[in-house]
C-alpha cells in the first residue's frame, strides 16, 4: 500500500488537536505523556488505498530555537522528512497564524493549510479569498471547522491529491529585501559547498537561521568542515545588517515577515469584518480582576478537587470490590501454597493497590483538561505568576505543580516543557516531585487511618498538602536565590479566547494521559509486585525447624519474613532509618517505594498479610498495623514526612534525567538532595517530638 507521512503543525489554540482527533479518529498512539501536547503524538488512518501516518507536533508560534516545543517541531520536520506539512490555521486570527506559515514555507516542503474555525470568520463578517491566498504563497488550502468535524474528508483528499501530483509544488520564498537577500546568498554559497549539510537541511533556511543567530543551527553546523568560514561570514553579515538598519538582524527579519503577512492579509481579506472578542473581554475583566482574580482561581481549583474526589469515590469502591472478589475467588479455587500466595498476595494485591485509585486520576485529568480547553488555564498562569515569581518559580510552573498534586509527577515534568526558560524549567522539575502525587496519597490514607483519630484525619491531610507546598516553594526559592543567583525569568504567553470544549476532546485528553499512567501501573508495578513477593517469600524456612521448635504459627510467619531476602535488606537498612523512628519494616517499605510510591502500601500489605495465619479471616492492613505495638503516632508521622519528601519514584527520576538534557549532575541533586532533606526533617520531627511523648 502507498504510504504518506504528514507533519501536523499549527499555532497554539488553532484547534490543531481537534483536527488531529478528527483525522485519526481512534487510531492514535500516544508515544508519551502529552502534557499540554508537549510530546509528538502519532495517528494512522487508511484512506482511498493510502496508509497515512500523521505526526502531531507541538503547537508553536515560530520555528526559532526558543523553546523545547519549537525545537521538537522543527526537528521532526527536518529529521523525519515527512511528505508534506499540514498546518492548521486559526482563520479568525490570520495575521499571527500566517507568520508561522512564512517560517514553514522556508523548510521547502509541500504545505497544505487547514483553514480552521471558518465558522468564527463568518461570525466576524470576514471573507477570505482562499484561492488568492493559495496562489500568493504556493500552498494548498482546505477550509475546516474542527469543532464540527467539517472539512476533514476534503483535507484527506487534498493530501492524496498533493501526493499524486507529479510536478513539484513548493511554497514561495518571503522577500526580505535586497540587503538581507544579499547576505542570505553570501551565506548560502558557503553552505552549498558542504554537500552533506546542504543535502540534510534546506540551504536558504539555514542561512536565515544563522542571520538570526539561532543557537541550535549554529550547533548543527559545527561539524561541517566549513564551520569556521560559515560562522565568520555569519558575523560579517550580521554586523553589516546591524550597521545598515541600526537594529539586530532578527528584529528586521521578524519585521519583514510580519510585513509580508500584513500585505498578504490586506489582499486576501476581501471583507475585513470585526474581531469579536467581546465576550472573552468581559469574562477576563472579572477573572483577571485585581480583587476577584485570586478568589475565582481558588474556587476553580477547589472544583477540580471536589469533582475528582466526589465522583471518583464510588468508582474507587467498585474497583476495590472487584479486586477483593478476585482475591477471594483465587484463594477459593487454588489450594493453599506458593501458587495461591503468589497470585493473591503478589499479583492481585500489588496491582489492585495501584489500580484502586486509577479512577481518581482519570477524573482529575478530565477536570484539568476542561480548564485547559476552555482557556482558563492561561488565566490561572496570569493569576499565579505574581505568587510563583516571588518563590523563584514561573507563572507556568503552576500547571506542572497542579498536575503532580493528586496526579502524577511524570506528566507534570513533561508539561514543564511549556516553560521556555531552561533554568525556570529545571527549578520547576526539581520541586515538582515534592507535591503529593496520586501514589503518595494511599500511604497517607493508610497511616492517618491507622494511627490518628478520625476527626483529625482531614486536618492532618490538609497539613500534609500545606507542607508539600511549603517545601516545594522553599526549595525553589533556595535554588533561585542561592544556586541560580541573579538570572531573571520572563513570562510571555497568549490569552486565548474562551471556548466551549468538546466532550470528545476532553475524553481523549483524559484517556491519553490516563492510559500512559495505566501502562506504567501495568508493567513496572506488576514487575515490582512480583519481585517484592519473591523477596518476602524466599528463602523459605526449613519446615523441620518450624515443627521441632514449639513456636506458634504466627511466630513462624513473622520469622519467615524476617528471614527472607527482603527482611535481611530491611535489617541492613535499619541503622539508617532508626533515627527517624523506623525499623526494618519501614526501611524495606521505603526502599520498595523508590520503584513506585504505591508499592509502599502494598509492601506493608505483604509484610502484614503474610504474617497473618488465618487466610479465611484476613484482618485489614490498617487493623494489622494498629495492632502492631511497634508503631505510634509520632513514628507514623515521621514515616509520612519522609515519604512525602524523599527520592521520587524511579519513573519520575528517569523522566527527569531525560528532560534535564541527560544531566547526571541535576539528577543526582534530585536523588540525594530530596532524600537528605527528607531524612533531616523526619529526624528533627521524630527526635524533638520524642521529647514530649
Amino acid at each position: 500500500m502507498n504510504k504518506i507521512t504528514i507533519a501536523l503543525t499549527g499555532n497554539p489554540n488553532s484547534g490543531k488537536t481537534t483536527v488531529f482527533n478528527n483525522l485519526t479518529g481512534s487510531h492514535q498512539h500516544v508515544g508519551n505523556y502529552p502534557g499540554v501536547t508537549v510530546e509528538s503524538k502519532e495517528g494512522t488512518i487508511t484512506f482511498r488505498g493510502y496508509h497515512i501516518r500523521i505526526i502531531d507536533l507541538p503547537g508553536t508560534y515560530s520555528l526559532s530555537a526558543y523553546s523545547e516545543d519549537e525545537i521538537v517541531a522543527r526537528n521532526v520536520i527536518l529529521d523525519e522528512n515527512p511528505d508534506m506539512i499540514v498546518n492548521v490555521v486559526d482563520s479568525s486570527n490570520l495575521e499571527r497564524n500566517l507568520y508561522f506559515v512564512t517560517q514553514l514555507m522556508e523548510l521547502q516542503k509541500p504545505i497544505i493549510l487547514a483553514m480552521n474555525m471558518t465558522d468564527i470568520v463568518e461570525q466576524q463578517g470576514k471573507v477570505i479569498d482562499y484561492s488568492l491566498l493559495s496562489k500568493k504563497i504556493g500552498v494548498r488550502i482546505v477550509p475546516t471547522i474542527g469543532s464540527k468535524n467539517k472539512g476533514t474528508e476534503k483535507l484527506l483528499e487534498m493530501v492524496i491529491k498533493l501526493k499524486e501530483d507529479q510536478h513539484e509544488y513548493t511554497p514561495v520564498a518571503v522577500d526580505y529585501g535586497n540587503e538581507i537577500q544579499d547576505e542570505i546568498l553570501r551565506i548560502s554559497e558557503i553552505i552549498k559547498k558542504d554537500a552533506i549539510l546542504s543535502e540534510k537541511l534546506p540551504v536558504r533556511w539555514v542561512a536565515i537561521k544563522l542571520l538570526e543567530n539561532d543557537q541550535r543551527t549554529i550547533e548543527n553546523i559545527k561539524n561541517s568542515p566549513l564551520a569556521d568560514k560559515l560562522l565568520d561570514q555569519k558575523e560579517k553579515s550580521r554586523n553589516h545588517l546591524k550597521n545598515h538598519f541600526g537594529e539586530d538582524p532578527e528584529v528586521i527579519i521578524a519585521d519583514r515577515r510580519y510585513g509580508f503577512v500584513s500585505g498578504l492579509c490586506n489582499q486576501v481579506l476581501v471583507q475585513q469584518g470585526e474581531d469579536k472578542y467581546s465576550l472573552t473581554d468581559k469574562i477576563d475583566r472579572i477573572v483577571l480582576n485585581r480583587f476577584w482574580g485570586l478568589p475565582i482561581f481558588a474556587l476553580a481549583m477547589y472544583t477540580i478537587f471536589k469533582f475528582t474526589f466526589t465522583l471518583s469515590e464510588p468508582v474507587v469502591g467498585w474497583f476495590e470490590t472487584l479486586f477483593g472478589w478476585l482475591e477471594g475467588i483465587t484463594a477459593a479455587l487454588l489450594p493453599e501454597g506458593l501458587l495461591q500466595s503468589f497470585l493473591v498476595d503478589g499479583l492481585i494485591g500489588g496491582v489492585g493497590g495501584v489500580l484502586g485509585f486509577f479512577p481518581l486520576i482519570m477524573f482529575m485529568f478530565f477536570a484539568i483538561a476542561f480548564y485547559e480547553d476552555t482557556g482558563y488555564m492561561a488565566r490561572a498562569v496570569f493569576i499565579m505568576d505574581r505568587i510563583m515569581t516571588r518563590f523563584g518559580l514561573h507563572g507556568k510552573s503552576f500547571l506542572p505543580l497542579m498536575l503532580a498534586t493528586n496526579g502524577c509527577a511524570v506528566p507534570a515534568i513533561m508539561a514543564s516543557r511549556t516553560i521556555d526558560n531552561k533554568r525556570d524549567r529545571l527549578i520547576t522539575m526539581l520541586v515538582t516531585p515534592f507535591m503529593i502525587c496520586g501514589a503518595k496519597l494511599p500511604i497517607f490514607a493508610l497511616f492517618i487511618g491507622a494511627f490518628f483519630a478520625a476527626h483529625n484525619a482531614a486536618n492532618l491531610m490538609f497539613l500534609l498538602y500545606l507542607l508539600s507546598v511549603v517545601i516545594a516553594f522553599t526549595a525553589s526559592l533556595f535554588l533561585k536565590k542561592v544556586v541560580f543567583k541573579g538570572q531573571p525569568s520572563y513570562l510571555v504567553m497568549e490569552l486565548p479566547p474562551y471556548r466551549i470544549p468538546t466532550i470528545k476532546g476532553l475524553l481523549l485528553k483524559m484517556w491519553e494521559r490516563g492510559w500512559l499512567y495505566l501502562k506504567k501501573a501495568g508493567t513496572i508495578i506488576l514487575l515490582i509486585s512480583v519481585v517484592m513477593w519473591v523477596g518476602f517469600t524466599f528463602p523459605q524456612l526449613d519446615p523441620d525447624t518450624a515443627t521441632i521448635t514449639s513456636l506458634s504459627e504466627q511466630e513462624i510467619a513473622a520469622r519467615q519474613i524476617e528471614n527472607s531476602y527482603a527482611g535481611r535488606i530491611g535489617h541492613f537498612l535499619e541503622p539508617m532509618v532508626r533515627p527517624i523512628g523506623q525499623d526494618w519494616r519501614g526501611g524495606i517499605a521505603l526502599l520498595a517505594g523508590i520503584a513506585a510510591k504505591e508499592v509502599v502500601v502494598s509492601t506493608f500489605g505483604t509484610i502484614y498479610s503474610m504474617g497473618e495465619v488465618d487466610v479465611e479471616e484476613p484482618v485489614s492492613l490498617r487493623g494489622a498495623m494498629q495492632n502492631d505495638p511497634n508503631w505510634n503516632p509520632l513514628k507514623a508521622f515521621s514515616f509520612m514526612l519522609f515519604s512525602l519528601i524523599y527520592v521520587p519514584c524511579f519513573v519520575t527520576v528517569a523522566v527527569f534525567y531525560r528532560e534535564s538534557g541527560s544531566s547526571l549532575k541535576w539528577t543526582s541533586v534530585l536523588l540525594f538532595g530530596s532524600t537528605l532533606l527528607a531524612w533531616i526533617l523526619s529526624f528533627l520531627v521524630y527526635q524533638i517530638g520524642g521529647l514530649w511523648i
Binding site: V492, M493, E494
Partner: protein, 79 residues
C-alpha cells in the same frame, strides 16, 4: 515621551519604541509581533502581576519583569 510598559494604563493605545534585548525571551517577543513601530493596546495593568496587551488580534500577557524591558510611547489619536 517614552515610558515602560509597566507604567502603561488600561485601554491605552501605544506604539512600541524599543525592546531592551539580550535575553532568552527576545526572539519570542519578536515572533509574537512585538517589533519596534508596532501599535497595540494595553488591556489590563493591575499594577502587579503580568500585563495584558492586545496585539495583532490576540491577547498576550507579559510578566512584569519583561514588561519592564518594553519601551512604549502613547499613540496620538489624530495620527
Amino acid at each position: 515621551m517614552t515610558f515602560k510598559l509597566t507604567a502603561g494604563k488600561n485601554n491605552q493605545k501605544v506604539r512600541l519604541i524599543k525592546i531592551i534585548g539580550g535575553y532568552g525571551a527576545y526572539q519570542r517577543l519578536l515572533d509574537m509581533g512585538l517589533i519596534p513601530g508596532v501599535r497595540f493596546e494595553i488591556v489590563l495593568n493591575n499594577g502587579f502581576g503580568p500585563i495584558t496587551i492586545s496585539l495583532k488580534g490576540t491577547k498576550i500577557m507579559l510578566g512584569r519583569g519583561l514588561a519592564d524591558k518594553v519601551l512604549i510611547k502613547e499613540e496620538n489619536h489624530s495620527e
